[in-house]
Amino acid sequence: MKKFMNTAETMVAESVEGFVRAHEAFVVFGAERKCVRRRHLTSGKVALISGGGAGHEPMHIGFVGQGMLDAACVGHIFTSPTPSQIIAAIEETDTGAGCLLVVKNYDGDLMNFEMAIEMAGDRHGLDMIVVSDDIETSRSGDGRGRRGVAGTLIVEKILGAAAERGMPLAELKQLGEGLNTRIRSIGVALNGVTVPQTERTTFSLGPDEMEMGVGIHGEPGHARQPFAAADAIIGHLCETIIADIAVMPGTQALLFVNGLGGTPPAELYLAYASARRIIEEKAIPIERSLVGTYVTSLDMQGLSVTLALLTDEEIALWDAPVATAALRWP
């Protein structure tokens, strides 16, 4: 395991410290460093709060800033933050209109955010939206729901813009829930990852193998397959997505190719070219695109493809200004 770190115990704290120092124009630490929050809050706006385990950087701290999140809580690696952190974020950012908590669909995350709401709900207007875009985990049909993965970025961007425009809490929740039904992601890994605390690989792949359907916690996916050409891999990912999502005539899509941490930009762009070709062949028009390393699984080599079907209003919210460390446009 070769990682740029000092000790496994201090790794997350040192990395978040570097993040905050590098982006001090956007963010500051909350009290006791329990969360990272916007430097300037907008009074009377619903606060948008997210969080999750570390190991997915730049998500979520990289999405804190004007037009997106108000605060993010970072847990230990692959471990949901505690209610104590979430309550701190609520207390620092609620300026009167309440807080919407954006939670990725994992039992651990759900339970911690729910406990925070139970503990702080008497003093704040709070609600929660659960993102569950990972198609692979919907297959067995047990109704456990999907994991929340890269699609979370899209939900946070669009809700962030809506909150900035003054949308109240209940409407934001509704917007987010509608959106969540129209976002699908699926991932592929070329290697497992090493969790620094244990110095062990979560799974290991041979030189000609890949793991299909992985999430962002180093968990194995649904099938190990022989490694293949990009068009074959991306074709499989895209077709799985398209088969699972209800494409209406007039639909506009956002295509997001996301690197899992160890895959360089050139390969992501090649995968994007492939995905775009395949999806356009199915007569789904790609109106917006995002390519980059935004939602990671430590240093995993691999990528995920996300397709979101958006309304005109949602496209406008996607286009609205954002000023965060990871996403920025005027």
């Binding site: 385990g53 847990g75 230990h76 690696i77 692959f78 471990t79 949901s80 933050p81 505690t82 209610p83 104590s84 994992y106 039992d107 651990g108 339970m111 911690n112 729910e114 406990m115 692979e136 985990t137 297959r139 067995s140 047990d142 456990r144 994991r147 969790v195 605390q197 244990t198 062990r200 979560t202 999430g215 916690h217 180093g218 968990e219 194995p220 649904h222």
Partner: protein
């Protein structure tokens, strides 16, 4: 120190030591069907509780148990924090509600049900509930502590045959079969440690 305070301090220490010894093993179990951190999570929780050990053990027993649960919730994160936290918080609250004469097995039942609600989970989902329910059953029929511990161990091992329906392992579907659930394993380890300690220090 009162007997109860000694008992709480002793239990905190015996749990901490058990988890410390088995943390690597629990991580290995979690690596197989989860994200490899269950041992680390449990150790962090036990250390946080230990650090507060003195102030906690000076509280009345129900308050001490509730406080330990809250400390777990506020320090562990992940799934284990809210689950073990809820278990202890509810045990503490039920004990307080029922006063001196509380029937522990009824108290435990209330708390386990709260854990199941918290996790939206049931017996057979391949989680720590698959140890908690059998432990409750054994206590309800007043089995000796040694039997309770053995039942916990056996129940944990039985999770290997189950298909996970909750927690990260559930995402693996059938691939989760054949592995012992880490939460079930930590629960059995703690049950055994507690039973042994009680057997030695508080013979029934």
């Amino acid at each position: 120190m009162q007997a109860e305070q000694v008992l709480v301090a002793g239990l905190i220490e015996v749990c901490r030591a058990t988890i410390a010894e088995n943390a690597d093993h629990l991580c290995a179990l979690d690596r197989a069907i989860g994200d490899g951190d269950h041992g680390t999570n449990m150790r962090r929780g036990c250390e946080a509780v230990s650090a507060e050990g003195e102030s906690v053990s000076s509280l009345p027993f129900p308050d001490a148990v509730e406080k330990i649960g809250l400390t777990l919730v506020m320090n562990v994160g992940g799934a284990a924090g809210p689950l073990y936290g809820t278990l202890l918080i509810e045990i503490g609250r039920e004990l307080r509600k029922n006063g001196e004469k509380a029937d522990f097995s009824l108290v435990l039942k209330q708390a386990i049900d709260a854990v199941a609600r918290r996790g939206r989970s049931h017996a057979g989902d391949k989680t720590l509930l698959d140890v908690l329910y059998p432990v409750h059953a054994a206590l309800a029929k007043r089995s000796p502590l040694g039997d309770v511990a053995r039942k916990a161990e056996r129940s944990a091992n039985r999770t290997a045959a189950m298909k996970a329906m909750r927690g990260r392992a559930a995402y693996l579907g059938d691939r989760s079969i054949g592995h012992v659930d880490p939460g079930a394993s930590s629960c059995a380890l703690l049950t055994t440690a507690i039973c042994r300690y009680l057997g030695e220090h508080r013979p029934q």
